[in-house]
Structure formats: structure tokens, C-alpha cells
């Protein structure tokens, strides 16, 4: 192309003429200046210390192979650690040692190869850069024409656009054939259940005793002191053979006792509490996390997932956070033996909102 000492410049000049030819296309609103600077071409190649100083080159070589040997040592160590640090049953400390020493061995093995290879590449391998010429992604005009011709010929031979009845009926068939597969997805859930029905009822029923979560021991009204809060499940839940978690996900309740004077109860719900003891669904009306945090002196419940806050003193209405509805209240009473019982199921669906809820 040109003299050696100017090859970079020459290359650049040759390329910019390519640019005009090859990447033609609308420039849109780009401003193409008339007297822009020209690419000065490649900077003179700067040798590295390892190119010039044989001692540095030797040292780099030593570094690289030392790193690779260290890597082998790391692999051997990881295997040895597997045997030297067995997991003794019931000892968490042994697990930790096993994890750490196998891991450190593997780390040495990997980092040794990594640093060694990179160092080799950076200091010892010839540092000349390659130059590739880019060509338009679309290919040459002839290639594009060739592709168009293939389609045209295929269309001609098959009659795809000519025989419209065949074509359209095929499109129809192709649209219809995946539909049975979609229907199969109905089998993902039991055929004999209706979700709205299930979401509307819980395990609570008239006379079900309130029991402690997780022990299942029934709770006496006398045991609930003012200011205390209990995590509650319906009695009998822990004995369920099937669907224990599903029932618990709806029936979990928080039981709290407030000073009756602090409780602002609407007249229609005055009979739902017992001597300042109130029971509310523990399942957040936002997206269903357990509203597990009770602040005793403010009577506020906090959902730890999205920080909705409910005011127990005011029928658990929302005072902050993304939830809208108050936590549903479980009407309670006391049976002959002094145990807390439910008067009925919840009077509305518990937990997160759903479309059919109203």
C-alpha cells in the first residue's frame, strides 16, 4: 500500500474512503461537517518493558509458571481438604471448616490459572493489534437479490400466494392446533374445586376453640392478660392429615387483649370481642404475608413484608402502607369451660384481594 513508516495513516485514509462506499444509508439528522478532522491513523507502537528488558521478560515468565504451579497446589489442597475436614455429625463448625478449606483450595486453583494466563497475555504474548475490516451486515447487493429470488421461486413453485384458499386454510389450521394444548393447562389444578369458594371460607366454625400456634393447646380467656398477643390457629388444625398449610394460610389469627376502654368498637361488632380480647386475621389484606409484628403501646400491627400498619383499637383499619382493607375480625366468645371459641367463620374472605371478591 505505502511506505512502511506511514502505513497507519495510509490505512486510515484508505478506510475512510471505504466508509463512504460501504456504510451508505440515510444519515438522518446527523450533522456531517465539511472540515472535520481526519483520523491521524495508528499511534506508533510502544514496546512494553518485557519486550525490551530480557530480565523483566524472564521475571514475567517465572511469575506465570509460578502461578500455574500454585494453581496445581490449590487443586491438591482442595482434594486434601475434602478428606482432612470431614463433616462430623451434629457439628456445624465442621461444616464451616469443610466449606472454607475446600473453597480456598478451589479459589487458589482458579485464581492461579486466571492470573497466570492474563499475565502471560499481557506481558509475554506479542502485543500487536489485529485489524479487521467491517463489511455491511446486509451482505452484497447480489446476495440480497439472490435471497429475494429464492423466496420468489419458492412462492412460484408452491403457489403460496396464488392458491389463496390453501394458504388461508393452512393459516387457520396452524392457529387452531395449539389450542388443545392450552386447554390441557386446566389440569394444573383440581377439576372439582372452585377457587372463589375456597378463598371465601376458612377452618373456623361456630364453637371452634382458639389454640396456640404451633402447639395447638386451647387458650383460656383468663390466660390472656391485658397487653398480650397470641399467635392462634383453630384447634384441630395440627391434626389434619391433608391441607394443613393451606388451612393455616387462611385461618391464622392474632389474639390481643386491650383495655376495653381503648377499644373503639362499632355497635354491630361490639359482641365480637370478649372483655377487651379481640381476634383478627393474621393474613395481610395486601398480598398475604403474616402480619406478625404487634406494637403493644400503640396497638398497631405491622406487616414485615410491605409495612402496612393496622390499628387494632379501630377494627384493624389501615393507617399506613399499601393495604386497603382492614384485617378481617374473627367473632369470638367464651365457652362453658372458659376457653375462647369462634362464634362463626370470618364474615368475609381473608388474605389478599382477588378479582371476584366483593
Amino acid at each position: 500500500m505505502a511506505q512502511d513508516d506511514h502505513s497507519g495513516t495510509e490505512l486510515a485514509a484508505a478506510d475512510s474512503s471505504h466508509a463512504v462506499q460501504e456504510f451508505a444509508g440515510s444519515t438522518g439528522t446527523a450533522v456531517i461537517p465539511h472540515d472535520a478532522f481526519e483520523n491521524p491513523g495508528f499511534e506508533p507502537h510502544r514496546p512494553r518493558v518485557t519486550d525490551e528488558d530480557p530480565r523483566r521478560e524472564k521475571r514475567a515468565q517465572r511469575t506465570v509458571y509460578t502461578l500455574f504451579y500454585l494453581s496445581i497446589l490449590g487443586s491438591v489442597w482442595a482434594i486434601a481438604a475434602y478428606m482432612l475436614f470431614p463433616i462430623e455429625s451434629n457439628d456445624v463448625g465442621a461444616v464451616r471448616l469443610n466449606n472454607m478449606f475446600i473453597g480456598l483450595g478451589a479459589t487458589l486453583a482458579l485464581l492461579g490459572i486466571g492470573f497466570g494466563a492474563v499475565h502471560w497475555g499481557k506481558t509475554l504474548m506479542t502485543s500487536a493489534e489485529s485489524i479487521d475490516i467491517r463489511h455491511p451486515i446486509s451482505g452484497s447487493e447480489a446476495t440480497q437479490q439472490g435471497a429475494v429470488e429464492v423466496f420468489r421461486q419458492a412462492d412460484e413453485e408452491s403457489g403460496f400466494s396464488r392458491r389463496t384458499v390453501i394458504r388461508n386454510s393452512l393459516i387457520g389450521a396452524l392457529l387452531a392446533f395449539p389450542l388443545p394444548a392450552v386447554v390441557l393447562f386446566r389440569g394444573f389444578a383440581p377439576q372439582d374445586q372452585i377457587p372463589v369458594e375456597l378463598l371465601s371460607h376458612t377452618m373456623w366454625a361456630k364453637g371452634t376453640r382458639l389454640a396456640l400456634d404451633p402447639s395447638g393447646v386451647p387458650i383460656r380467656a383468663a390466660d390472656v392478660t391485658i397487653g398480650s398477643a397470641f399467635h392462634v390457629i383453630p384447634e384441630g388444625l395440627i391434626d389434619l392429615e391433608h391441607g394443613k398449610l393451606e388451612e393455616k394460610a387462611k385461618a391464622a389469627v392474632l389474639l390481643m387483649r386491650l383495655d376495653p376502654s381503648e377499644l373503639n368498637e362499632t355497635p354491630d361488632r361490639a359482641s365480637w370481642s370478649y372483655d377487651g380480647i379481640v381476634a383478627y386475621s393474621k393474613i395481610c389484606t395486601h398480598v398475604g404475608c403474616p402480619v406478625a409484628l404487634y406494637e403493644q403501646h400503640t396497638h398497631h400491627l405491622l406487616c414485615p413484608c410491605h409495612q402496612s400498619q393496622f390499628d387494632v383499637a379501630n377494627h384493624c383499619e389501615v393507617i399506613f402502607g399499601p393495604a386497603k382493607r382492614p384485617l378481617p375480625q374473627l367473632p369470638i366468645a367464651v365457652d362453658d369451660e372458659g376457653y375462647l371459641i369462634a362464634q362463626s367463620d370470618f364474615t368475609e374472605p381473608v388474605g389478599p384481594s382477588f378479582w371476584e371478591r366483593h
Binding site: F42, G103, L110, D132, K248, P304, K324, F354, H358
Partner: protein
């Protein structure tokens, strides 16, 4: 035998590698690929490594995950735990949880592989996110790479799906609560929500099906898609050749960098081992997802400070930022705007992310291929939009830790939420304006340096007594880095062939004005010369 080739007449003494490579090539024709690709130039810049970090951490995820499948059992059948971890002995839990505990406590090196898997997954998503930011801010999504941007975007979504499904598998308290939240969100979707949740969980939440189903997605469907898309994505990097930053000798029509064999192979291959080594080091020293502390899933208890994995944080944060009361009963149906608004807002956000290359191309009307990466300052509006997007995302993300922010800094819950609501709504605008001004100022500084040189630090006293600092002119290579960019001007509305100004034209023109009104052109030769002749 008269047609004996040179091959058969060569001396019998040949190296093993020569023989082996000939054997393979005769059967695969691989020489074509090696000759074509082996010396391909691969442009160098630290930011080009981010995509590689994603690829290399994915390899760790794949290999460690395969190991874990040999031990994990995706069943929600209830068992009484009987493994080595004493505090949970006898506790009722699912087989999935018990087998995860066994991997952690009863299989040597099992915890290490499990932690590698989780840490590598976190790094995988993080690296994809940073890689996307690099591509965005340097304009590497422009023609011909728009479609590869879409593939990369889908990979980002798939990576998050992989992460979430994997996070849910151990069936511990934390992951169960994560699923509970997903269930609650799905139920809030109008019309299809209730049934979708019912089908997904195989009945009522939590049911006994979800872990098995997520497992199939996690180890079969999603990885297959990810692997296929990575192949396509990386394949297109080869077809397009990598972008490069402007520099001496770098042209739109060339690609300059170390050849794949040997330098790039050594550096990238070595880098792969470095990434693996770092993941291994973290897994060796830092615990992640200690499910034994959380216990098995139970719908009733939950601990304070629950957090999803980092990449789900923005969605969780979006849920938290909704003010009270955004839910209505209308037409006898429940409209949960407290769930719909976050879903729609996130949908619009990621929709804009995936559509951005096409929007910018439409505004510019530029149909040329672009292979020179922009410096972010030279595309001020784009960079400012990116900063606004990052601020929006960061606001949502911070909101996922609203409770921790409140407790750690002794703030009120309400104060944190209100501040973050303001951040998410006003923050992007502030970030936009600041970033745009900074970009323009940097462009002006570049012009200044090109025209007047850089400050040399040498103070000279003139004969008249005036002190001046000598400015050193740039050499031509340095100058080229600062002047070799293109600027765009606002679109002029012109009637089309039928003498009409269409609505599309008007919209495009107003977008174009927004993008390119503040335009700082690169210094031209004439300017530099007249600058030297005349005034300062």
C-alpha cells in the same frame, strides 16, 4: 496409485497434534472456522468485560446447579427432618427443604457448591444489568445491534426468572413468603388473577405442587432458553464484530484489537478463571441464604427485615411505595390498584428499556451502521435519560429495604416511604437535568481543550508583568479522541410528497427537538485554525 498426493509422500515422522488436527479437520471442516475467526480482532476496554462476567458466572451457575440436582429433591411431601443439623431435628418440613439441608450439612463440599451456585446467580444478574448499562450509555445498541439488544433484554428477564424460581425451591420460610407475595400479586390481576394463582399452585396456596413445577422451569425450560439465547447473543457479537471506542486508527469500517488467538484467548480465558476464583472465594468465606436459620415454610410466622434477592428488590419496593387505599370495588369486582399500578409501572419501565433503541433510531432517522461507541457525554440527552432510569430503578430498589433504612437510621417508616416516593417521582427529573448539564459542560470542556490545549501547570511572566499559564496543545492522537464524534440537529418539519405534514412528523420533530436542541458540535479544523489566529 498414480495420484499419490503430497500428503502420503511426506515423511512418516509427523507430530501427534498435526495428525490429530488433520483427522478432525477431515471430518469437520473446522479449519474454515479457525482461519476465519482465529485472528479476529477483539477491541479492548474494561467495560467490554461486563458481558463476559455474566457469561462466566452463568457457566458456574450451570455446572454447580447440575451438581445440586443430583441431591436436591423437588418434593413438598412432609417429612420429619433427621439430618445433622441439630436445632431442626424432628421438625416437620418438606422433602425439598430437608434435601437442601442435607446438601448443606451432610454432603462434603455440598454447602460450598450451593453457595457458589447462589453467589454466581447473584453475580450473573448483576453483570447483565451493568452490561446493559454499558451498552446503553455508549450507544452500542444502534444499528445493526438493535435486535441483539432485545435478545440481551430477554436474557435479563430470564435471568431474573431463573433467580426467583431457584430462590423458591428450598421451601424455607423466606422463599415461602416470597411465593406468598407472588400469589397475592397474581390474585390482584383483574379477570384472570384468581384462576392463574389457582392453576399455578395446583389449588390453594401453598399447595404441594409449586416447588416441583418451579423446579421444572428452573432446571429445564429456563436454562434451555438462556443457553440458546446466549448462543444467539454471542453469535451476533461475532457477526457484528464488537464495537470500539473512537481512537487513532479506529474507523467505523474496521475493528481493532488483540487477535482472538492467542492474546484475547489468554486474557478472556484467564479472566474466566478469575471470575470463577472470585465466586469460589466468596462462597468459601461468606454464607448466603442460611435456610437453617429461617426454618421450613409456615404461613404464620415471618421475621422482620425480610428481603428478596437483590434483583427482585425493585419489584418489592414498588409494592411498598403505593399509598394507602388504592383498591376499589367497582362493578361488583375488586380492582387492586395497589398491585396493578406497580405491575403496570414496571411493565412500562422495562417496555421503554427494550424499545429505546428503536425510539432513538426513529428520532434520528439515521440508517447507517454504527460501530464506534459513543462517549456518554457526546449523547447528552440519551445519557440523561439513562440516569433518570437508573434513579427510578434505584428508588424502587431502595424501597425494598424501607424497613431496614428506618430501623438502621432511626427514621420513621412513614418518613422513609414518603422520601422514597418523592425520589421515584421527582428524582428521575432531577437526575435528568443534572446529567444533561454535566454532559454539556464536559463537551464544552473537551472543546476548550481541543481549541486551547490543556493546562501545563507552567506559569510564565510576560514582559508586561502579566502572568499566564502556558497551555500545551494536544497531539493529533489525543485530539482525535475528543473530536471524532457525530452530533445531530433537531428535525425540520417538511411537508411530505403530498404536501402534508403528518402527525408522525410532528411527534418526531418534537422528540428530535427535545433530544438535540442543546447541541455541542465537535471542533472542526477551521475552528482550530481560526482559534489559533484570532481571539481566545
Amino acid at each position: 496409485m498414480s495420484t499419490a498426493t503430497t500428503r502420503s509422500t511426506t515423511p512418516a515422522k509427523r507430530s501427534f497434534t498435526a495428525g490429530a488436527s488433520e483427522y478432525i479437520n477431515d471430518r469437520t471442516g473446522i479449519a474454515v472456522a479457525i482461519k476465519g475467526l482465529g485472528r479476529k480482532a477483539f477491541p479492548d476496554h474494561w467495560s467490554f468485560l461486563l458481558g463476559e462476567v455474566a457469561l462466566f458466572s452463568f457457566i458456574v451457575v450451570l455446572i454447580s446447579g447440575t451438581f445440586l440436582t443430583f441431591f436436591f429433591q423437588a418434593s413438598m411431601a412432609e417429612v420429619h427432618y433427621d439430618g445433622s443439623y441439630v436445632p431442626l431435628k424432628g421438625v416437620e418440613m418438606s422433602v425439598a427443604m430437608a434435601s437442601t439441608l442435607d446438601i448443606s450439612f451432610d454432603i462434603r463440599g455440598g454447602l460450598f457448591v450451593r453457595q457458589m451456585h447462589h453467589w454466581a446467580a447473584l453475580l450473573f444478574v448483576a453483570a447483565i444489568g451493568l452490561h446493559m448499562l454499558r451498552v446503553f450509555f455508549t450507544g452500542a445498541f444502534r444499528k445493526p445491534r438493535e435486535i441483539n439488544w432485545v435478545f440481551g433484554f430477554i436474557l435479563f428477564i430470564l435471568a431474573m426468572a431463573e433467580g426467583f424460581t431457584g430462590y423458591s425451591l428450598p421451601d424455607d420460610l423466606l422463599s415461602g413468603n416470597g411465593l406468598r407475595i407472588i400469589d397475592g400479586m397474581i390474585k390482584g390481576i383483574p379477570l384472570i388473577g384468581t384462576w392463574t394463582s389457582f392453576l399455578l399452585f395446583g389449588g390453594e396456596f401453598p399447595g404441594t405442587a409449586i416447588v416441583g413445577r418451579l423446579y421444572t422451569l428452573h432446571i429445564l425450560l429456563l436454562p434451555a432458553l438462556v443457553v440458546a439465547l446466549i448462543a444467539v447473543h454471542v453469535g451476533y457479537v461475532f457477526i457484528h464484530k464488537h464495537t470500539q471506542f473512537a481512537g487513532p486508527g479506529r474507523e467505523p469500517t474496521n475493528s481493532v484489537g488483540p487477535p482472538i488467538l492467542p492474546i484475547y484467548a489468554a486474557k478472556a480465558g484467564g479472566f474466566m478463571f478469575l471470575i470463577w476464583g472470585v465466586i469460589s472465594l466468596i462462597a468459601a468465606l461468606f454464607t448466603i441464604n442460611p435456610i437453617w436459620n429461617y426454618g421450613p415454610y409456615d404461613p404464620s410466622p415471618v421475621s422482620a427485615g425480610t428481603q428478596p434477592d437483590w434483583y427482585i428488590g425493585f419489584a418489592d419496593g414498588a409494592l411498598r411505595l403505593i399509598p394507602p387505599g388504592w383498591e376499589f370495588v367497582w362493578l361488583d369486582r375488586t380492582w387492586s390498584f395497589n398491585i396493578l399500578v406497580p405491575l403496570v409501572a414496571i411493565g412500562i419501565f422495562i417496555g421503554l428499556v427494550v424499545a429505546y433503541p428503536f425510539i432513538e433510531a426513529w428520532i434520528k432517522g439515521d440508517k447507517r451502521e454504527h460501530h464506534i461507541a459513543d462517549r456518554p457525554r457526546n449523547a447528552p440527552t440519551r445519557t440523561a435519560i439513562g440516569a433518570a432510569g437508573v434513579t427510578f430503578y434505584a428508588g424502587l430498589w431502595a424501597a425494598a429495604a424501607s424497613d431496614l433504612l428506618a430501623t438502621h437510621f432511626s427514621l420513621t417508616m412513614e418518613g422513609v416511604i414518603h422520601a422514597l416516593q418523592a425520589t421515584v417521582i421527582v428524582g428521575p427529573f432531577i437526575a435528568y437535568f443534572i446529567t444533561k448539564r454535566v454532559c454539556l459542560a464536559l463537551q464544552k470542556k473537551d472543546r476548550e481543550i481541543v481549541l486551547h490545549g490543556y493546562e501545563s501547570g507552567r506559569i510564565v511572566k510576560l514582559p508586561g508583568g502579566e502572568f499566564i499559564e502556558v497551555h500545551q496543545p494536544l497531539d493529533e492522537y489525543e485530539r482525535w479522541r475528543l473530536v471524532s464524534y457525530e452530533s445531530y440537529q433537531p428535525l425540520m418539519i417538511r411537508p411530505n410528497a403530498r404536501g402534508k405534514i403528518t402527525l408522525g412528523q410532528r411527534v418526531r420533530a418534537s422528540f428530535s427537538r427535545w433530544f438535540f436542541e442543546d447541541r455541542i458540535a465537535p471542533v472542526s479544523k477551521g475552528e482550530l485554525e481560526s482559534g489559533h489566529d484570532g481571539h481566545h
